[in-house]
């Protein structure tokens, strides 16, 4: 768990992060969004003390980060940046082994960990372990960057626009991979992005920053239904909001008893996708089945639209 309390950063007269407080629960993903220069990276870098706060403090699992020597703190916090920052003179496996080596793990344990991570990120150890970063594609470099950050099993992972340099297809795959890995490892993640779709896709909670201030920190749906300020509404895309809301809700939550004609939808489908199917098929209702294929009810256009309604 990360607790940020009244964190402020000043450079001379300019305030870059202004009295920000927020809490990231154990094993969840907090996404920080906001315009360029809002102070997102600075906020993130104050968590591992790459930037020293002017005032306020950060607690990780209840311990003030100032009480931990900074190198030791950083060994325990994974850090991924947009440009990945892979060491060009070291192979993929040497890059991944960086922090374990600093921690003095023994050779065998490091080798096993590197292989495990390469497998996890679908990089064949036989092919990739000995390659140098410039021999990798952007997507592969990105995966190595994340693998390197996870090498010493950190409980906390900080990611600054980790997918910013990827094309849309690879990017959405990388997001799904991150979600899967996060579920498996249970890490607590703070991720900075410019991409609202990414924020809604990944975030358990989203922090919206503007001009050094934290405007709102809430679950994605709440951000849509109860934006704290006009800026939040604008950032989430005024016209997009109902659709985003539908993307966040699953068929299960809009299920009604009864039956319908046509190809069945699964309970876990998002309302956004369900509506798309209904429109495409020209229907008002479709049957719904559970994961085992048993019919459990139906979904209607009317119910879906009701879920996309924003409070006045």
């Amino acid at each position: 768990m990360i607790e940020i309390e009244h964190l402020t950063k000043r450079y001379g007269e300019t305030i870059v992060v202004d009295d920000v407080s927020l809490r990231v629960e154990e094993g969840t993903i907090a996404v920080v969004v906001g315009t360029s220069g809002a102070g997102k990276s600075t906020l993130l870098r104050m968590i591992n003390r790459l930037v020293e706060p002017s005032s306020g403090r950060v607690l990780i699992d209840g311990r003030d980060t100032l009480s931990i020597p900074e190198d030791e703190l950083r060994h325990r916090i994974g850090y991924v940046i947009q440009a990945y920052g892979l060491f060009p003179h070291r192979t993929v496996s040497q890059n991944i082994a960086t922090v374990p080596r600093l921690l003095g793990w023994d050779r065998k344990k490091i080798a096993a960990r590197v292989d495990e991570l390469l497998d996890l990120f679908q990089l064949d150890p036989g092919e990739f372990a000995g390659k140098f970063p410039h021999e990798l594609s952007g997507g592969q470099q990105q995966r190595v960057g994340v693998a390197r950050a996870l090498a010493a099993k950190p409980a906390v992972l900080l990611m600054d626009e980790p997918f910013g340099a990827l094309d849309p297809v690879i990017r959405s795959k990388a997001q799904d991979d991150l979600l899967a890995i996060q579920r498996r490892l249970g890490a607590t993640i703070v991720l900075v992005t410019h991409d609202m779709n990414e924020a809604f896709h990944l975030g358990d909670r989203i922090a919206v920053m503007d001009q050094a201030r934290l405007l709102q920190y809430a679950a994605p749906a709440e951000l849509l239904t109860h934006p704290a300020e006009p800026f939040v509404e604008q950032l989430t895309g005024t016209a997009e909001r109902p659709f985003r809301l539908l993307s966040l809700t699953r068929v299960k939550e809009a299920l009604e008893p009864g039956d319908a004609e046509g190809e069945a939808l699964v309970l876990s489908t998002t309302l956004h996708d369900a509506l798309a199917r209904l429109i495409a098929l020209g229907k008002d209702a479709l049957p719904v089945i559970d994961a085992s294929g048993k019919a459990v009810g139906r979904i209607t256009v009317e119910r879906i639209l009701a879920h996309g309604r924003l409070p006045a």
């Binding site: 591992n48 790459l50 900074e70 190198d71 030791e72 703190l73 950083r74 060994h75 850090y79 940046i81 947009q82 440009a83 990945y84 920052g85 892979l86 060491f87 060009p88 003179h89 960086t98 922090v99 600093l102 140098f132 970063p133 410039h134 960057g145 390197r148 950050a149 900080l158």
Partner: protein, 388 residues
């Protein structure tokens, strides 16, 4: 254009080389004959410098190489032709010396003439061009320089050149030659080692502490602009003072003239390339890489040794290479203030108007610079990993 008519096209550099060879063969003396070591010489054209078979051999070889240079594009046969040319002309000039020297005359001197030098230059150009086009890997280049050094050693040991004036000068001074050689190497490489010892930490300091950077570089830049003779002179006074007033300094061999001021001057000259390149090399380590290193908890020292220095190494080595080659050349000037080195022969030779003695000092200096440059370039290539 040339690809449209590949068989008829002339290679531009090759044509120049062919013309050089032509001038060398038919319009320049192959060797120069002197009745004794200091009188003016008289040139001997090829036909007068060698028995007919030898002259014909050189002419045919020269024409063959010229044709290869002008007409062939593939670098491999061009290289082969150049090596064949060198392997023919270089030993034969020794034969020519034996042929031209009257039997039993120990005063007569024969040195290579313009024709020989032009031929050697033409073949060397052709070889250098072919080698560049072949883009050989660093290991092959190291092997090539080793083979070349071996071939030269073999030539000298075989006695094929013993009748050349250059080797007669050497024979008269064999002991002092090797002593000056050691002195030259010590001056050039020792001062370089000292400036690495000082320059690397200074460069790292200037990189870390931005405010010092401009000041350090400015001072070193000023040192660099002082002419070498002037710098030697400037150093003589304080060192002389030191020698007369501090017994320890005198005991260490520090005197106003001699090796000490030369060593210090070379040290000061090589400081700028080392410091400047250390700063440049460290500066060009990508910001993302240092940021990631910091973010992963590498301490400043770990960052320096594990990330920044390895990535800056090719640039730092390039600085050392520049300084070292410069030092090897400059060290000849040290002889002027009694510092020793190959310069001793150069200045003695100038004093006695004995050109061959000048060559005895110059040729080893050039060879040493050349070999050092090649070896360093290969090492730099070997340290360059990944895109830079």
């Amino acid at each position: 254009m040339s690809s449209l008519r590949p068989h008829l096209s002339l290679d531009r550099l090759g044509s120049v080389i062919a013309v050089l060879i032509g001038v060398a063969l038919f319009a320049s003396p192959f060797v120069v004959y002197r009745a004794n070591r200091i009188v003016a010489g008289e040139g001997r054209m090829l036909t007068a410098a060698l028995p007919p078979a030898g002259a014909l051999g050189i002419i045919l070889t020269g024409i063959g190489v010229a044709l290869c240079a002008a007409l062939l594009r593939n670098p491999l046969p061009r290289l082969a032709a150049a090596i064949l040319g060198l392997a023919t002309v270089v030993p034969i000039v020794g034969w020519s010396a034996t042929f031209v020297t009257p039997l039993g005359n120990t005063f007569a001197r024969v040195s290579p003439g313009l024709g020989f030098w032009l031929l050697a230059l033409a073949f060397a150009l052709l070889a250098a061009d072919a080698l560049t086009r072949l883009r050989l890997g660093p290991w092959v280049r190291l092997a090539a320089i080793a083979v070349a050094a071996g071939a030269i050693a073999l030539l000298l040991l075989s006695g094929a050149w013993n009748d050349l004036s250059l080797l007669k000068e050497y024979a008269n001074r064999a002991d002092s030659f090797w002593q000056e050689a050691r002195q030259h190497v010590w001056l050039a490489f020792g001062s370089m080692a000292a400036s690495c010892l000082v320059g690397l930490p200074l460069g790292i300091l200037a990189y870390r502490v931005r405010r010092l950077r401009a000041a350090i570089l400015q001072i070193l830049n000023i040192v660099q602009t002082v002419p070498s003779i002037a710098l030697f002179g400037i150093l003589i006074a304080p060192l002389g003072y030191l020698a007369t007033h501090v017994p320890l300094a005198a005991a260490l061999g520090i005197r106003g003239i001699g090796a000490a001021p030369a060593f210090i001057a070379l040290f000061l000259y090589s400081l700028l390339p080392v410091v400047a390149n250390t700063i440049t090399g460290l500066n060009q380590v990508p910001a993302a890489v240092t940021d990631a290193a910091r973010g992963m908890g590498l301490s400043p020292r770990q960052r320096l040794w594990q990330v920044e220095l390895p990535l800056a190494l090719p640039v730092i080595l390039a600085g050392i290479r520049i300084a070292l080659v410069q030092n090897i050349g400059l060290a000849t000037v040290a002889a002027l203030i009694g510092g020793g080195g190959f310069g001793t022969f150069v200045f003695q030779g100038i004093g006695q108007t004995a050109i061959d003695l000048v060559l005895l000092g110059t040729l080893p200096t050039v060879a040493l610079s050349f070999a050092t440059a090649i070896v360093f370039d290969a090492i730099i290539d070997l340290t360059r990993r990944g895109p830079t």
